[in-house]
Symmetry: C2
Subunit: 372 residues, 2 copies
């Protein structure tokens, strides 16, 4: 599998060019309103001082780092604001690899394709640990895969694409494995606001010097195009203090700084958005999950009910999750999903559907009509 | 010289913490109004569709790439919109190095510190070619320094920090050298709107397959904090077509995409801003250069009159351009500049002053009082 160019854009382009109406369930682009304070913040910024249009600090606007640090219960020095979680994960992985203590990256299968593509680009040794049928990772399997050459273990919970939420004990075990092998657990928590199990706990709760937690406002505030994310690194005075130093340097060299209008608007939204906004988003998704999985039941499909995030993986008999089949579904059924093979070998028979459209019933009906 | 963490932020922070009034001439942050259409574009965006808040294409908004391509006279496929010129230069240099045809990067001395820091981060072999007293680079010296191991030659005209504008013959010679050694000329042209000589010509005019031209809207639109830049790569069907492919992949892996509100506002400003806006900016700078250099004359300082960009390098007898002296100037004279040593060895005796303040007379008087 070639992970170097993630397939999302290819499928989206194919769907956009289709001559028929297509329900878009490809990308993780939320279709709901961002917080009101976000729009207000951006409008306010547009009318602001010239000096506010110039470089923010490379590490991010100070009050934004403060807000993040306070919420995460960490010192501000550990927070680096990035160009979305994509850059946060990139900096976490490069910093771990640049220590020179190993060049192996452990990931799960299925894997979020950007992790795999990044490991390839960075010439890392990639090792995949298959998850179980429900999407849960077995820490014993990770421990068995981990070697002295392991630089990082990269996990994502709530998970894209499986929807699994790892229980705190799993995260604690993974942290222990990272500690035992002097490796870094990169915990991508971008779906933390979309946990329906109540079980989710950030890896930061382990208070380990071997954890980098990454996150973004892309999903929680429905602004994937703003590119505001962050990483929380281990204490810079601790044993892995070099990680945040390396990340700051690389961030400065590759991007100079992040985009200030977006950071400003996010800061305003972070301060003023009530918990109800996030609760409504969860409610909306819960309801869509119910409707979509009910319809999948009716269609006789196999599927996993997500405990978090907003993806449903489904399997239709005799219709494996290849790119060809995804294109066929677009043209012949009018539903665009992602091929399971884009996420690795273990879900090659499956298709991933992102519930970022109000038209989930319609999509499920079309799938049932075509494949049922 | 440690280039890994460019010194701009350090000096800016020192100046910000000073207990006295300081004229800030450190960074390249414009102090003038952005185009009216830029503010209008951002305000309009703030009120736009939810779908417009989601991922732009990784390579940049299509109409923005079209506007850029049309202005530069190239095919859209050659244009990659980046997180400022910083990322454009990063992608140009990494793409050249990743060809595996050499690991040497040739730069001038003085050098824009980010180029040098990037070469270090990328483990490239760095070779510096000193420029002459006026800031001009001698192509014969570059040819002598270039070897089969040269991956890229990185130049910047109009130049930061010298203010030199390379004549078209120089650029043509540099392109020839790159062609002869199968290397890439990275031509950073971010100050192209600040040419007072009338001599400036983009390296794209050579129509060579060995040129990557980088640029941004940071300086021309006075929006360094927006982070919208671009690179124009060689034709993807040409002999160095791999460059743009590599750059697209790396951009996607490290940043996913750029920030959409900023791209949207820049697009609007690019379409609607009349030439008079840019002419007024040049006029403002020309006038500041005159006033500042007149005052430097009066103070008995040596200096170079910039042909482009907005920096003046000055030398005061017995007061070399060290970080210590820069801090002394902040505390004791109330003027913040950049130490010449931050740009390499050849200008270690000099200080660089950015004319991004209306208080240039006051700054020059303070310098004259303190050092005259």
């Amino acid at each position: 599998m070639d992970y170097e160019t993630p397939q999302f854009f290819r499928v989206m382009q194919y769907a956009a060019r289709a001559e028929r109406d297509v329900v878009d369930m490809v990308s993780g682009n939320p279709d709901w309103e961002p917080p009101a304070a976000l729009r207000e913040g951006l409008a306010e910024y547009a009318d602001g001082e010239v000096s506010d249009f110039q470089y923010p600090p490379s590490v991010g606007l100070t009050p934004l780092r403060d807000e993040i640090a306070e919420r995460r219960g960490v010192d501000r020095s550990r927070v680096l604001v990035t160009n979305g979680a994509g850059e946060a994960n990139h900096l976490a992985m490069t910093s771990a690899l640049d220590r020179g203590e190993g060049d192996e990256v452990i990931m799960t299968d299925p894997v979020y394709p950007y992790y795999a593509g990044r490991a390839n680009l960075l010439n890392a040794e990639s090792t995949y640990v298959p998850v179980d049928e429900t999407g849960q990772v077995d820490p014993a399997a990770v421990r068995e895969a981990t070697t002295d050459d392991t630089a990082a273990i990269v996990v994502n919970s709530p998970n894209n694409p499986t929807g699994a939420v790892y229980p705190p004990e799993t995260i604690e075990s993974l942290v222990e494995i990272a500690e035992d092998h002097d490796a870094v657990l990169v915990s991508d928590e971008v779906y933390d606001h979309f946990d329906y199990t109540g079980d989710f706990e950030s890896a930061l709760a382990t208070d380990s010097d071997h954890v980098v937690a990454t996150n973004s406002f892309s999903k929680s505030m429905a602004i994937t195009g703003f590119r505001v994310g962050y990483a929380v690194f281990p204490d810079e005075d601790g044993p892995l203090g070099e990680l945040v130093e390396r990340a700051r340097t690389r961030h400065m060299i590759q991007n100079v700084a992040g985009s200030r209008p977006a950071q400003y608007a996010v800061l305003r939204a972070l301060r003023e958005t009530p918990p109800e906004y996030y609760e409504r988003s969860r409610e909306r998704l819960r309801e869509r999950i119910d409707r979509f999985t009910d319809a999948l039941d009716a269609a006789g499909a196999e599927y996993t009910t997500p405990g978090g995030s907003f993806y449903v993986m489904a399997r239709f008999d005799g219709f494996p999750g290849t790119m060809e089949n995804v294109e066929r579904l677009i043209d012949e059924a009018g539903v665009a999903g992602m091929p399971g093979e884009a996420f690795g070998e273990s879900r090659a028979d499956w298709l991933r559907f992102a519930l970022v459209t109000p038209r989930v019933d319609e999509a499920a009906e079309r799938l049932a009509d075509y494949l049922g």
